[in-house]
Amino acid sequence: MSFEIIFFFFIAVLSVGSALFMITRLNPMKSVLFLIVNFFCLAILYLTLGAQFIAIIEILVYAGAIMVLFLFVIMLLNLGDESRLVEKKSYKRLLALPAALILLIEIIIGLRIPAEPLTLPPIAAQMGSVEYIGKALYTEYVFPFEVTSLLLLSAIVGVIVLAKKRSG
């Protein structure tokens, strides 16, 4: 087993463990902190895949901005612990079976993909750099990029309308 595989398994176990802790902690504050651990693990995996820009954005935008927003809302609402995870409706449990089956099928298919040796062009190592992503974003994908700004603008307006106090 090479060092890369061992490192991958270490990060994978860490990320799956933090995800499991996230959905089992009753205190939403602890859930947020475990989710941030998960995001850092994913950022490291992006780095191993050569996607430096995405890894930095993952930490800046997800762990930095979005999760701070979550923390802010949790502190603002001052929620206590969620009561025990007792299911009142049992039909939700039935959904666990198809979900588990889908996961099993995905795992089987995923492990059957042969590890064929890759002959990447020398450009591939820098493919995830800011330079390449920026060039692609501002030339080939400039229209979706502009549409994203519209999306963010509408989100800003919508958030202000939703969160504003009704003034009668």
Binding site: V16, L42, Y46, I54, I66, L79, L85, E87, A99, A155
Partner: protein, 106 residues
């Protein structure tokens, strides 16, 4: 900085992504705190992002990473709007328990 992409097979990344996605689905189905449900949705989005980046790296193209960029923009907008909805709900109902929020049911 030379990355040895062949060391870890593509399937490993896909399996990890599937496991993380399923954990997110599990959280959405079992948790009752609306904020935690939102966090599980973020987890699912991130697991899909991992798939996209893995495919992007193993196919030698940049398209997957561009798509991840847009997914992150949508996720940021979605988190902001969702949390605003949760705040508005809390202001009206004094709870974020999704079992008690059923004003859309009839």
């Amino acid at each position: 900085m030379s990355m040895n992409l062949t060391a870890v097979p593509l399937g490993f990344y896909l399996v990890l992504s599937a496991v993380l996605f399923t954990i997110g689905v599990l959280g959405v189905l079992t948790r009752r705190n609306a904020i935690v449900v939102f966090m599980c949705i973020e987890l699912m989005l991130n697991s899909v992002n991992l798939t996209l980046v893995a495919f992007s790296a193993f196919s030698g193209t940049i398209v997957g990473q561009i798509l991840v960029f847009f997914v992150m923009a949508v996720a940021a907008a979605e988190a902001a709007v969702g949390l605003a909805i949760i705040i508005a709900l809390f202001r009206n109902k004094q709870t974020v328990n999704i079992d008690e929020i059923n004003i859309m049911k009839w």
